[in-house]
């Protein structure tokens, strides 16, 4: 029984870290219909900014997180205006080629500017160490990651389902021309949602940095995992992404605990099975 609890706690923590990083990608792919392979690169930029702010400038963790999120948005908005705007509605291959190109550029720049070594983001004393749960101990920053995941999920759900902006966004996604005819400034809606998605990527990059350390190849190293989460969850669905993260986190963690020799066999087996049964993901929107 203790083993089951133990696996469940680890799975929840890992799943939530995956969720915080991947949900931004789910927004760009599902709501904006852009296959954004540069998502990992934006998460990495967030990580670098936070690391620089907290370690080299000595700022507090909270301030570093805010700087990372807004700094990444400031970097990403010109990229959106100059490059991404051209590929909205373009064929997927065009989008893939351009975003992977951006990724390689960012990797090169990060490597040149910060060097190839690992960068850490020092945690505040409150998040260091571990908490005793009675049957085992868990790192405090993982509890923080779980809380971040839950609040991000709630905030996004509220934004998309309950606010005027959410209505405009959903209208622009379903029929951009009609929405524009009705007076919705679609380019602003797109720019704002892109900024939100990038900000979430940066937040995920910072919060997940203890599990996925920041280094130049971060941008590509974990991209497959993020894409798997989005395709299993169904692009654009918050609840889908949440379920997918918990499910995949659970399978991966249980597999690694019980039969580590099989490696990622069960993880990918589950992915294949889910995608066979639900080709559009667990909660995919029907186009």
């Amino acid at each position: 029984m203790q083993t089951v609890f133990s696996i469940a706690v680890d799975a929840l923590a890992y799943g939530m870290v995956l969720f915080v990083i991947s949900i931004g990608l789910s927004v760009t792919m599902g709501l904006m219909r852009v296959v954004n392979l540069a998502h990992g690169a934006f998460a990495m930029i967030g990580g670098y900014i936070a690391s620089y702010a907290a370690r080299d400038l000595g700022l507090g963790y909270g301030l570093a997180v805010l700087l990372a999120v807004f700094g990444t948005i400031v970097i990403a908005v010109p990229i959106e205006r100059l490059l991404y705007r051209r590929i909205y509605g373009a064929p997927e291959l065009t989008q893939v080629l351009m975003t992977i190109g951006i990724t390689f550029c960012i990797i090169g720049i990060a490597n040149y500017a910060f060097g190839p070594t690992l960068k850490t983001i020092p945690l505040p004393p409150g998040l260091e160490g571990s908490v005793d749960l009675g049957f085992r101990s868990i790192a405090t920053h993982r509890i923080f990651a779980i809380l971040c995941g839950l609040s991000v999920a709630a905030a996004l759900w509220y934004l998309i389902e309950r606010t005027g902006f959410g209505v405009k966004l959903r209208a622009a996604v379903d029929d951009a021309a009609m929405a524009a005819a009705l007076g919705v400034r679609t380019e602003i809606v797109y720019a704002v949602s892109f900024a939100v998605a990038v900000g979430l990527a940066a937040l995920g990059g910072v919060v997940g940095a203890e599990l996925l350390p920041v280094e130049p190849y971060y941008a590509l190293r974990y991209m497959v995992t993020f894409l798997v989460v989005v395709s299993v969850g169904g692009a654009g669905s918050i609840s889908g992404a949440l379920i997918a993260c918990l499910l995949l986190g659970g399978i991966d963690t249980a597999g690694r605990y019980l039969v580590p020799e099989f490696g990622e066999f069960f993880f990918y087996l589950a992915v294949i099975a889910i995608v066979c049964v639900f080709p559009r993901g667990l909660a995919g929107r029907i186009r």
């Binding site: 160490g129 571990s130 599990l211 690694r256």
Partner: protein
């Protein structure tokens, strides 16, 4: 008339070749991509050697030509080696960070009449693949065997082994197991984790549940190491008094600033620490630090490359610049010198380097930086892995 001129020109070129020539050395390694740091270290070691010893051997100029294989890719490595030999006319091949890349090149050596000096790839078997291979780095058997004795001496008799599931990981597991069981210890469990593991908490839980008093771990240096060591501390294994043993890949100098306090007290055995206290190493670190730009990025592949260049220079000296691979390799068999890592020699039989292995502990220096502090020396260690192959 025309024919005479051509003949004269040909005679001139051939005559010139015998006197002063440019001898080319082809170096293959990861100079871009996720392992670029290790390639950078190769280059730093080579540049340092040439800065200290000149770029001439006798009358011959030495030219190093680099080729990039970002990730383990035997086919590309072989193609590049062929290109270096045929198009560039290199007389020596060197470098190689990954075992499969080096293995793919060994069948070419005899026909190309080119010796291969391995500056890193650490699987025991490579030297048996061709008589023209010389290695100046280390093997996992060589670095992992002494730690078994350290573990037993520390009063630990039950150990769980946790390694990444790939060639060197399996080598490390076997080396430790052989050494530890010979010392009278017991391996309670051996776990092989997939290379792409990000979250190590479940593994830590398993270590805890196994009831072992110590853990032997091997992961390739880089991002995963950080996650592993952090998970070890955060899941309360350090506080529970479980001892941590590993070969030095886990605490390579360029990862230490990121590992920070989490790594304090970890004991590893390895052939080289940047902090090694000797005049030779001081000179080396200064030159290599200048070559790499940022001295904090200096790590063990640089010393393998530095000594590799030493071996190549000795080969060129012995052959007088003529291309004769067998003669060149024979000339360095038994060669002994003082490397930045301490006294070393090339074992005449295996053509692998015999060297001291040091037990080190991660320690905080007075200026707040972290380094591997050498505690004990295991002198003149050969490669036990070759004996295990037979």
């Amino acid at each position: 008339m025309k024919r005479t001129i051509i003949a004269a020109l040909a005679a001139l070129t051939i005559g010139g070749a015998a006197q002063a020539d440019t001898i080319k050395i082809g170096v293959i390694g990861p100079f871009s991509g996720p392992f670029a740091l290790q390639g950078k270290n190769f280059k730093a070691g080579i540049d340092a050697y040439m800065a200290l010893n000149g770029s001439k051997v006798g009358d011959d100029d030495i030219e190093v030509i680099y080729r990039d294989v970002p990730q383990p890719d035997p086919a590309q490595s072989k193609a590049l080696a062929q290109e270096l030999v045929v198009k560039e006319g290199v007389q020596y091949l060197a470098g190689f960070y990954f075992t499969p890349d080096a293995m793919a090149v060994t069948p070419l050596l005899e026909q190309a009449n080119v010796p291969l000096v391995i500056m890193n790839a650490a699987t025991s078997a490579i030297v048996t693949k061709s008589p023209l291979v010389v290695r100046t780095s280390f093997t996992l058997w060589q670095t992992s065997t002494p730690i078994a004795k350290v573990a037993k001496d520390a009063g630990v008799s039950k150990v769980i082994s946790v390694v990444s599931d790939y060639g060197p990981g399996v080598d490390a597991e076997n080396a430790f197991k052989t050494g530890f069981e010979a010392a009278g210890g017991q391996i309670v469990e051996a776990i092989r984790m997939p290379l792409a593991t990000n979250d190590f908490s479940p593994i830590m839980q398993r270590i805890k549940d196994s009831g072992a008093e110590g853990v032997f771990a091997f992961l390739p240096s880089g991002p995963t190491t950080l996650g592993f060591v952090k998970a070890f501390n955060e899941n309360g294994l350090k506080d529970a008094g479980i001892k941590f043993f590993a070969p030095g890949d886990l605490t390579q100098e360029s990862d230490l600033p990121a590992l920070g306090d989490a790594a304090l007290g970890i004991q590893t055995t390895f052939h080289y620490a940047v902090s090694h206290d000797s005049p030779e190493n001081k000179t080396f670190v200064e030159a290599a630090g200048k070559a790499i730009g940022n001295p904090a990025e200096l790590s063990f592949p640089s010393v393998g490359a530095y000594d590799g260049m030493h071996v190549v220079y000795k080969m060129i000296e012995a052959t007088g610049g003529e291309q004769d691979a067998q003669k060149a390799v024979d000339a360095v068999k038994g060669l002994a010198w003082t490397s930045p890592r301490g006294p070393v020699s090339i074992d005449p039989e295996s053509r692998h380097i015999t060297q001291n292995i040091y037990l080190r502990e991660v320690t905080k220096a007075e200026d707040g930086s972290y380094y591997n502090k050498e505690i004990t020396t295991f002198e003149k260690q050969g490669d036990p892995g070759l004996a295990a192959l037979k």
